[in-house]
Every structure is written in C-alpha cells, then in structure tokens.
Amino acid sequence: MFESTLFWIFATVAIGAALGVVLAPSVLYSALSLIVVFFSIAAFFLLNNADFLATAQVLVYGVGLTIVMLFGIMFTGDTPLKEKAGKLGRLLIASISSVALFALIFTSVLGFNIKQFPASAQWIRELHEQGSTLAIGQLLFSKYVLPFEVASILLLGAMIGAILLSKKTFTSQEPGLTFSIQEGRLKPTLSAEWRKDVGFVDAEVATEEAPSSTEELKKECSL
C-alpha cells in the first residue's frame, strides 16, 4: 500500500515535471524541471530495489549532468523559446519519433519477461536479500575488474581532453598582468595580447562602466 502510494506520487511528479521540461517558456526552467524528473526516476529505481541505480541516477544525472547543462545554458544566454518552436513539420517529426520510441520501449518492457530465465530469477532473489550495491561491488572487484581499471584510463583521457580543449592558452611569454602606482593608487594593467586571449574585447566599456556604478553607489549611500 505504502509502496503503491509512493509510486503514484512519484509518477505524477515525474510526468508533470517532464511536461514542464517540454512546455516551459525558457530553457532554464526546462533544465530545472529536468532535475525533478531525474530525482523522481531515482525514486522509481529505489521502489524497484535498484538502490545502486538510484544513487547513480542522483549523483550523475540529478547533480552532475544538470550542472553541466545549466552551465551550458548560462554560456549561451537564456533566450525565450517561443519564437523558435513554430515549424509544424519539425513538431510532427519530433512527435512521431518520440511516440515510436515510447512504443518501442513500452513493448520491450511488456514483452520481456526476464524472470523466465532461471539464472536471473536466482539473481533477483539474491538482490532482494542483500541489495544491489553490495552485489555490484563484489562483481566490480572480481569479474569486472579489467573494465573497471580501463575505465580509469578512459576517465583520465576525458579529463586531459576537457582541460586541453576548454583551457585558455596564453601564447605570450611576457607577464600578462602588471601593477603600477598611479596617482597614489594601485592600477592593474592587462597586456594587449592577454586581453585578446582572455576575450576582453570591450575593455574600454568595462572601465567606463565602473565609475558610473560607483557614483550611483555613492548616491545610494548618501540617501
């Protein structure tokens, strides 16, 4: 009873949030409701005794992936989606392919009775008794130890790639940031080459803006 109540609660939340992802007016809201979807799916995993899967879902999808996604949105700017969603043909293709995918997954879940295999029936019983995390831990460090170690090299390669491809390289050997005392105040100067590298295209605009805001701040303080 408790279980089925929870299931329906999370099912409602999941479907509602998934609709939110599609219908939200801005990408940012979509991403935020996607987090809710991920967490409710984690709850489904828990309800089906897949405790490790639930943890992975929360850690990788609920936290890691959404952070990368939100960052991505913040880099590109959050533009309202309404104007872009117009094309009827695109909408048709999207709905047909998603209905097809749903049908595929739905029929495969219905048609697939994994319990008919004796080995898996025994597995399921064992998993019910001890939880899946322990079983996965034991397998990971005995049978699947080779892929596990290869995964570390895979992750290392990915890390090198992430640093290489997204790190800004400084071609200049001269010090980029120098300090000098002008009119009794410390003034930082960024060399022209560095400024180009860092992407300070509108350095002048930035310096102009600063005093105006401080003046406003002073006005604010005097009030």
Binding site: Y144, V145, A151, L164
Partner: protein, 525 residues
C-alpha cells in the same frame, strides 16, 4: 636460475596467483601500452618542449615492446604450447589466435601512424606533444582491448576508450574551425551510436539469460524460445552501432567532414585503427548468430555493404579535396569488407582479416602520401598535384602504388585481398551473387577516381605549386620528414609484399578464424 626463483616466489603470493590464474601475461601488450601512456602523460607535465618531444620516442618504444610481446604470444600458438584459446581476466578477454593476429596488424599500423605524427605534432602542436601521444595511446589501448574483448561490458568500455580519445584528438587543432566542427560532429554522432549499440547489447543480454559474455551467446540464442522480433531488433541496433564505427552507409554522414577536419595523422588513425578494431569486434559479436536466424543478419549486413559501396564510390567521384576523397574511399572499402562479413563463414572472415591487413598498409600509405603532398604543395586540393611527376617522381610512384592498391589492381596486395574476399563469398552458402556483382561494379567505378589522381600527377600540366617546386630544384630548403618517409617505404613494401606472399597471409588469417570458430562452438560452417 635467478629469474626462475624470483618468478616462483612471486607466483606464491596471492597477487602472483591471481596473475597466473587469470592469464594476465596474455594482456602484456595492453599493460605495456598503459604504462607507456602514463609515461608520456608524465612527460606532458615537463616544462620545456624539448622534454615533451621525448614522448614520441617513448610511445614508439612502448609500441615496439607491445609488438614483440604479441609476436612471442604468436610463437606459443605456432609451437603448439598454447591451447586453442585462453580466457583472460574472468573471461573478459579472449587471447585466441584471432586476437593475436588482429593485435599484430593493429600494432604495426599504430607504429606507422606514430611515424606519420612526429613531424606534424612538432610543427603544429609543439606545446601539447605529451598530451597528443597520451591520447593517441589511450585510443590505441581501447582498440587493442576491443580486438579480444569477449564480454559486452569489456567491449563497450574498450569502444568508449577508443571513441572518446578519438573525439578529443579530432578537435586537437583548437583554433581551426574545421577541426572543431569535426570534433563536435563526431562526438554527437558517436554518442548517439554508442547509445543505440548499448540498447542492442542490453536486449542481447536479456536474450542470453542475464550473461554479458559473448561465449554463452550461441547456446543462449539457440535455446531462447521467442527469438524472432527481439533478436532482430537487437541486431538492427548493434549493426547501426557497428555501422557507425566502420563508417558504413547510411551511418557514414560524419565521415567526410571528420576526415577533412581532423589532423591528418588522426584521420589515418580513424580510417585504419578504429576500423580494424571495430571489424574484429563485429566478427566476435556476430559469429554466434551464424547458426541461428543468420539469413536476417546476412541480409542486413549485405544491405549495409551495398549502400556503402554505392554511396562511397559515387560520392568520391566528385571530390576535389584529397582527404575528403580518401574519406569516401574508406566508406567504399567498409562496403567491400562488409560483403565478407555478411557471408559469415570461416573462409570469408579469414579473407576479411587479410583484407583488413592489406587495407591498413595501403590506406596508411595513402594518408602518408597526402601528408607529404600537403608539406610539398601546402594544399589538399587534387588540382595542386597536377604534373607533380616532373618535380618528385619517386613520390608520385609511391602514391600511385597505394592508389592502385586501393583500386585493387593486380600485383598489389589490394587485388589479392579483393579476389580472396569475393571468392570466399561466392563459395559460401549465404553468398549472394547480386551483392558480388554490385561489388565488382563498384570497384570498377572506383578505378575512375583513383586513376584520375594518377593521371593528374603524371600527365597534367604543372600547377603553380609544382612549378615553384621545379624552379627551386635542388636549392630547396624543404626537407622531407625522415619518419614519414620511413612509414611510406614500409607501407610500400607491405602493399607490394602482401600481394606476392598473399597466400601465406591468408593462411594465417584463416587459421585465426578457425581458432575463433572453435571458441564459438562450431557455429561457423
């Protein structure tokens, strides 16, 4: 004596026991490559570029040691000391003759690609030499593991190790828009294809009764009651994934852009190493289906083959960029190889392995020539090669041999490879004469664009660049990269040599397949 005593005491420890019981010695090439990549990675932290440049030597040394260990392993088979096949690390890796032969070809190809990379990296990416070789070795490690992976999880991890490093290497020229575009396209297509492949593997996992091992597949597939629809769906998904990796049409759309945009040594790597590893993976995964429902599998692979041959050859006709042309040519070659895979007999798979071996040398040679051409002419346009024979006759000779090899003209290995492949398919039960006729027609079409390059180089009017070269004459300050020349010469020797000693090469690859056949419980006829 001393060594024996030490090894004896080592075996007594629990870790020694583990290494001994799990046949870890057969993973020697992979272990060597892992250590090598950690060493080049450590060098990437070096402050000076001089220190970084040493990573090439280390990478080469590591690959040569790996090659030696593979040859030693082959010796065990040759002298009969190793039984038909040895399962390594709880059945994750199958150290059979197929894996040994495939890894031998792979390592040779990798050494050639290292030679291709040296000058390129020194001149274009001097500050990131260490990282370049680390990532290249990581991709190579994935390819090596894929050659013997006998478990879905192992195969997938190996595939991703190969894939993710390749995506990064493709975009290695960060300030080049084409390279970045290629990397992004490759990443997106690759991610989707991996997901589809994984879905297929998951379905197979269910059909096989909850085992991830390829070894139980034949038995499980013959027992499963309702194989029909689910197995077909799984096979379609797996073939889509494999089709992407070997760049077979209609999953080829990434190929031309990625090949054109990425650094040329990486293009060679993708067209040779990735393709070879993916084909060995396909052989391992698909041979269990040879017994059950094989008509569908053969039909689907045959369709992929026909599409690839038509799309690759027809699209190549219009290309003006040499790298793009070679990209379409690899699609066409994937088509020929898939013809061999579709027949799923021992002989056709043996011929396929032999084809892959010759393809490694011909294609690496062609890319090496394209690199030399790029250095000479500073252009990737075919029109720039016009009249090159007047300036560099030896280069034109070498390039022509590779192109003739790819076209499948007699005396070169390419002819024998094609001949053996098509012959074995004709003789097989599932051999479809229609597919063979299409393959022969496609080969004929391919003659046009391969011979066109030779024609342009030999009888064309000298282009601007070539006239400059002729004008410079002996005063030219340009010097050819020694490693690149060496790689080209080795490729040339193998392209001609494998043609002459083709029969022996075929025998080795066929025995590799028969050994593999023994491990999949005689499903192959």
């Amino acid at each position: 004596m001393m060594l024996e005593a030490i090894s004896y005491t080592l075996i007594q420890t629990s870790f020694g026991q583990f290494i001994y019981n799990q046949n870890l010695a057969f993973l020697a090439p992979e272990l060597v490559i892992s250590l090598t990549l950690l060493m080049t990675f450590a060098l990437s932290l070096a402050k000076t570029q001089v220190d970084q440049a040493k990573s090439w030597g280390i990478a080469l040394l590591g690959s040569v040691v790996a090659l030696v260990s593979i040859v030693m392993h082959y010796q065990l088979f040759y002298t009969g000391q190793a039984s038909a096949s040895q399962s390594v690390m709880f059945g994750m890796f199958e150290a059979d003759l197929l894996s040994v032969v495939a890894r031998f070809i792979l390592t040779l190809g990798f050494i050639l690609i290292l030679h291709l990379s040296k000058r390129y990296v020194e001149t274009r990416l001097p500050s990131q030499t260490g990282e370049f070789y680390t990532l290249l070795l990581t991709a190579f490690l994935g390819a090596l593991l894929l050659c013997g992976a006998n478990d879905m999880i192992m195969a997938f991890v190996a595939l991703e190790t190969l894939g993710i490093s390749s995506y990064i290497l493709t975009g290695y020229l960060r300030n080049n828009l084409k390279s970045t575009e290629a990397s992004l396209k490759y990443l997106v297509y690759g991610g989707c294809s991996s997901a589809v492949l994984l879905f297929g593997l998951a379905l197979i996992y269910g059909l096989a009764g909850g085992s991830t091992s390829f070894a139980v597949l034949p038995q499980a597939l013959s027992q499963a009651s309702d194989l029909g629809a689910w197995a077909s769906l799984a096979i379609v998904m797996i073939l889509a994934g494999i089709g992407f990796k070997v760049s077979a049409a209609p999953f080829h759309t990434w190929t031309p852009d990625v090949y054109e945009g990425s650094p040329t040594p990486i293009t060679a790597f993708l067209s040779v190493i990735s393709k070879l590893a993916a084909f060995v993976f396909a052989i391992r995964l698909l041979t269990p289906f040879a017994g059950v429902g094989n008509e569908n599998v053969a039909l689907l692979i045959g369709l992929l083959a026909v599409f690839s041959m038509i799309v690759g050859n027809v699209a190549a006709l219009k290309q003006t960029n040499i790298k793009r042309l070679l990209g379409y040519s690899t699609i066409a070659h994937a088509g020929y190889m898939l013809v061999g895979l579709a027949a799923l007999t021992q002989n056709s798979l043996g011929a396929l392995l032999f084809y892959l071996a010759t393809y490694v040398f011909m294609n690496t040679g062609a890319f090496a020539s394209a690199m030399i051409g790029d250095e000479l002419l500073a252009s990737e346009d075919i029109s720039a090669y016009s009249g090159l024979i007047k300036a560099k006759p030896w280069f034109v000779f070498a390039f022509s041999i590779f192109l003739l090899g790819l076209a499948g003209i007699p005396i070169t290995a390419g002819f024998f490879a094609k001949f053996f492949l098509f012959q074995s398919v004709v003789l097989s039960d599932l051999g479809n004469l229609g597919v063979i006729i299409i393959a022969l027609l496609a080969s004929t079409v391919s003659l046009y664009y391969y011979l066109n390059i030779i024609k342009v180089m030999v009888i064309g009017e000298p282009s601007e660049q070539v006239q400059r070269l002729i004008g410079e004459g002996k005063d030219s300050t340009w010097n050819l990269s020694k490693t690149l020349t060496l790689a080209t010469v080795i490729c040339l020797i193998f392209t001609l040599g494998l043609g002459i000693f083709g029969q022996n090469g075929l025998l080795i690859s066929e025995s590799a397949m028969s050994d593999h056949g023994a491990t999949v419980t005689q499903n192959l006829r």
